[in-house]
């Protein structure tokens, strides 16, 4: 039962983190190239535009949920399991979500890269 709770917390963390990244990516594409916007309208206008964006705030909410799920998972399981499992799975789930929801062109190059990074992150915690 404890194992089920632990993996539920990890799953919630992975989903919330990936959803946060996908929503954030969508929001930033909609807002536009921040470098160009800053050159045209100034830094204050760009910051105001970003923090008043509803999608951006939703992404922050997801990331906050992910953070507290991670804390919960860490309180239930070993850091040596929780940290690599959540970080590696987040890379893969984010890639899948980016392909499905953002219609990103996730070609073989990006899948291979995501897999290498995923395994690399897992090894870093050894």
């Amino acid at each position: 039962m404890k194992s089920l709770e632990l993996w539920s917390a990890i799953a919630l963390m992975v989903l919330a983190s990936s959803a946060g990244d996908v929503i954030l990516s969508s929001a930033m594409k909609r807002i536009g190239d921040l470098g160009e916007l800053r050159a045209r309208h100034g830094l204050v206008a760009v910051i105001t535009r970003v923090i008043s964006d509803k999608q951006f705030l939703l992404a922050l909410t997801c990331m906050t949920l992910a953070f507290f799920s991670l804390l919960t998972a860490l309180s239930w399981g070993d850091a040596s399991l929780v940290a690599p499992a959540s970080a590696s799975l987040t890379f893969l789930v984010s890639a899948v979500m980016a392909k499905v929801f953002l219609k990103e062109d996730v070609d073989r190059r990006r899948w291979v890269s995501a897999a290498l990074v995923c395994i690399g992150v897992a090894l870093l915690t050894q």
């Binding site: 996908v22 536009g32 921040l34 045209r40 206008a45 090894l123 870093l124």
Partner: protein
């Protein structure tokens, strides 16, 4: 990809990694956190390492948002993972931590993954993309340039 965009990706990697290591350095001075006395944590903000760490992490978030404004998520994510490599290298030389062979293997794999993805296109081709800023925020005196 212009030089400016590569510099933004470099900022994502360096600020993320350096921020975490600086927080770790500061928390070493601060000592273990007592869960029964969480308000005490606020005093950690007086530590210069932690303050610089927070500034770095703010820089990380700003450069991460900037990168996401012109590159795909699946392009930017591996770059953020490069921050783990920065953490490992800084931990070895700045915090004098031991890095095992497994970790060096992990660093190698992440580096290969990042090198591999950054050689490809940064953004999925779309029909059109437009920058939007409410007119109220635009000063009348500001010069208007065409979006590249």
């Amino acid at each position: 990809m212009t030089l400016r965009k590569y510099l933004v990706l470099l900022a994502v990697m360096l600020f993320g990694g350096a921020g975490d290591v600086l927080l770790k350095r500061g928390m070493k001075d601060f000592g273990p956190v007592d869960l029964h006395n969480l308000p005490h944590l606020v005093s950690a903000l007086a530590n210069p390492w932690i303050l610089i760490g927070i500034i770095c992490l703010t820089g990380f978030f700003a450069s991460y948002l900037t990168a996401l404004s012109w590159a795909d998520l699946t392009y930017v994510l591996p770059a953020t993972a490069m921050g783990y490599v920065v953490i490992a290298v800084l931990s070895k030389y700045f915090l004098q931590e031991h890095i095992s062979e497994w970790r060096w293997a992990g660093i190698l794999l992440i580096s290969c993954g990042v090198g591999w993805v950054t050689r490809g296109p940064a953004l999925t081709k779309r029909e059109s993309s437009k920058a939007i800023i409410p007119e109220a925020l635009i000063s009348e005196n500001q010069e208007q340039h065409e979006i590249a």
